[in-house]
């Protein structure tokens, strides 16, 4: 029998582990995955392996920490708009949505209906783009390079839509408290509908070559099962939560923008494995198509900004505190704003979805084999900068 040896000195060099974590038996070894960016983000998982079984997994975030919360306290409310989207360039509009919503609800700023609909369109375009990013990376991690090519190519079409509508392909900084920056261009509707028609057809092909692919199914079905009670215990959000059969989505629970006026479904699957998390995102893209079509059809006339939410650094933000949220592509993003009535926030906390999904990574990896790591880890859709902020 292998006597227990303490490799603490060796282990200390790679990470500040706790006493218990640093004890490794003779049969075990420590493997560090990351933090070099290999498509998985700047993030390290320290694995304790016995053969190819993962005995323990210790997540090590922080490689792309940019002190978002400290910077936010030192910037005016309007400068905080582009800052709020920086943690996640795949899904910027949904993060900004959470921020402007918090400011609006604290100050009681009304948003015109047309702006609500435009926000919904931009948010859903971003959701599709983020999920396509996921499908590309998830595909390439499971050696499905066609999925990577298709998803990356289609993502560009939605970037084109973003460019037309907001002026930027990614990181749009398009929302401000009280409305949006620009109105919808004349030719946008036609182009958007054309793109959506194409994409909807292409999604059927995605289903055939990817979701129904026996190799993909073999590698993901029954792998990394997160039971609903564990999902609640760990506090996960977004597709990870809905993949475990818990149907919670801020767009329905606590509606914002025009989501309460639009008819759409919240996809959820009760199996809780990697496949169901991927499936949730796949169905969500189909729902997003539905949402954008409806929003374009019902787009009401009128102003796009409340004159209260001016384009100047000094916004009328009341003193007080408020917590509000939005449903980003990776799950619920929460903002806790403490205002003292000055032009800068006194405290702005971002509870980002990736940070809240972080506990699921070690939980699911423990006991799995090393070969299942990509299927489990990638299905969380963890975004390093978003978790580190």
């Amino acid at each position: 029998m292998g006597s227990s040896i303490n490799k603490k000195e060796l282990v200390k060099k790679i990470e500040q582990l706790t006493e218990a974590e640093a004890i490794v038996t003779e049969n075990e070894m420590i493997v560090s995955i990351g933090p070099q960016h290999s498509g998985a983000g700047h993030f390290r998982i320290i694995l304790k392996l016995d053969g190819d079984i993962i005995v323990d997994a210790i997540p090590d975030p922080g490689f792309v920490h940019r002190s978002y919360e400290k910077l936010a306290e030192n910037m005016t409310y309007i400068h905080n708009v582009p800052l709020a989207e920086k943690p996640n360039h795949a899904d910027p509009a949904n993060l900004v949505m959470g921020y402007v919503r918090t400011v609006e609800e604290l100050s009681g700023i009304e948003v015109p209906e047309r702006a609500q609909y435009i926000r919904t369109i931009v948010c859903e375009i971003n959701r599709i783009m983020s999920h396509l990013y996921f499908f590309g990376i998830f595909g390439i991690f499971l050696n499905h390079s066609t999925m990577f090519m298709w998803a990356t190519g289609d993502r560009d079409l939605f970037a084109d839509l973003n460019q037309m509508l907001t002026g930027a392909r990614i990181t749009q900084a398009f929302f401000l408290a009280g409305g949006v920056y620009r109105d919808v261009p004349q030719e946008f509707k036609e182009k958007a509908l054309k793109t959506l028609d194409y994409f909807e057809r292409h999604l059927d092909d995605y289903e055939k070559i990817f979701m129904e692919n026996p190799i993909l199914q073999e590698r993901t079905i029954g792998i990394g099962v997160l039971r609903p009670e564990d999902a609640i215990k760990l506090g996960v959000v977004g597709p990870v939560l809905r993949g475990s059969g818990i149907k919670h989505d801020v767009r329905k629970d606590d509606p914002y923008a025009a989501y309460d006026k639009i008819d759409f479904e919240i996809p959820s699957f009760k199996e809780g494995d990697s496949y169901s998390r991927v499936m949730v995102r796949f169905r969500e893209m189909q729902e997003s198509i539905k949402i954008i079509r409806q929003a374009l059809k019902d787009l009401p006339p009128g102003p796009i900004r409340n004159p209260e939410g001016r384009l100047v650094p000094r916004w009328p933000v009341k003193s007080g505190e408020y917590y509000s949220r939005a449903e980003a592509a990776r799950g619920e993003v929460g903002f806790y704003l403490v205002s003292d009535g000055t032009e800068k926030p006194y405290r702005l906390k971002m509870a980002s979805p990736s940070f809240r999904n972080l506990p699921a990574i070690p939980f699911l990896l423990r006991g799995a084999t090393l070969a299942d790591l990509p299927a489990i880890y990638m299905s969380i859709d963890y975004w390093g900068p978003e978790a580190d902020r």
Binding site: G62, K70, N74, I232, G235, D254, Y323, G334, Y346
Partner: protein, 166 residues
């Protein structure tokens, strides 16, 4: 009363909390039917948390520290959600406590809500607030950080022009 119960379950929970745990509650505010803040004494935090967990708040959405440097105190705020009670799905409840800035210590709530694990660790890192009983308060996001806790108000941001040129 029964109609009120249906309309606002949040109000109900807070009233029940005041009647059972009145001695530890310092303040409350209910801005609308979806949000509420309850301020408790630090020594009553665990009791309040257990009560709220039994009422259906089963997930910690975030743990925030706030540095009130002029009043010489920290606030620790837990934002709570419910996944199991459908009537509370639109509700976010803030459980707040104020602690002395010179002795920033508070009991951990990880044994009640496991979802607070990384949030408390981050708050400890950014404010040096000690969560007594937390299993691991080691560095999480910062590496080899020797300076003061960065989110405290007495730590300023260095601007680009203040950087020293090597």
């Amino acid at each position: 009363m029964s109609q009120l119960q249906q309309i606002n379950p949040l109000q109900n929970i807070i009233e029940k909390m005041i009647s059972t745990l009145g001695d530890i509650i310092v303040d409350k505010s209910i801005p609308n039917t979806k949000r509420a803040t309850i301020v408790v004494k630090p020594e009553g935090l665990e009791k309040a948390a257990q009560f709220l967990k039994n009422e259906g708040f089963d997930v910690v959405a975030s743990v925030s520290g706030v540095d009130y440097i002029k009043e010489k105190k920290f606030a620790v705020v837990y934002h709570l959600l419910s996944r199991t009670k459908p009537e509370l799905k639109s509700v976010i409840l803030a459980l707040k406590t104020y602690i002395d800035r010179d002795k920033p210590e508070v009991t951990t709530l990880v044994h009640i809500w496991e979802s607070a694990l990384y949030h408390e660790r981050e708050t400890h890192e950014m404010y040096a607030i000690v969560f007594k009983g937390h299993p691991n308060l080691g560095p999480l996001l910062l590496e080899d950080w020797a300076g003061p806790p960065p989110l405290r108000k007495d730590y300023g941001v260095r601007r680009e022009e203040q950087w020293e040129v090597a």
